[in-house]
Symmetry: C2
Subunit: 90 residues, 2 copies
């Protein structure tokens, strides 16, 4: 979770997640949506992957990225613990 919070702090990375919500995409397809360099996008993808928010899958020459929902679910539980219903005490 620690890594996820840091990963989510950057707007470029949140936009990458938004794109992956629609479709699985290659690193190149993701980079094409931004005006920043491919190496920079590659760095962002690495950070998202380290945080467990995305996973990659190699398909020949390409690397496809897709969301991993596990950490999002953890995030939901975390945030719920701060709302009325989220109190685990009796």
């Amino acid at each position: 979770m620690k890594e996820a919070f840091k990963a989510l702090a950057d707007p470029t990375r949140r936009k990458i997640l938004d794109l992956l919500k629609e479709n699985d995409l290659t690193a190149g397809e993701i980079a094409a949506e931004f005006s920043i360099s491919k190496p920079s996008i590659s760095q962002h993808l690495k950070i998202l992957k380290t945080a467990g928010l995305i996973e990659d899958e190699k398909d020949g020459q390409y690397i496809y990225y897709h969301l991993n929902t596990t950490v999002f679910q953890e995030l939901i539980s975390w945030a719920m613990s701060f709302t009325q219903g989220g109190n685990t005490d009796a």
Copy 2:
């Protein structure tokens, strides 16, 4: 939300939120839980407040801080949009 993601990236700020989950606390009481200086804690409180995660209330000489659950609820909605059930398409 943009500010909230940035605010949540720091572990000190997340620990402050954990403390406020239990009780409303003054800035001094919060600072006492950490080994960092009071001015630094004050800065963190300002960031959390700007992000809408906490609110303050003056009581004489003291300033009490408490959670504001609104942004946590927004965060839950945001995270849910990335999980299976969260798709708004038909």
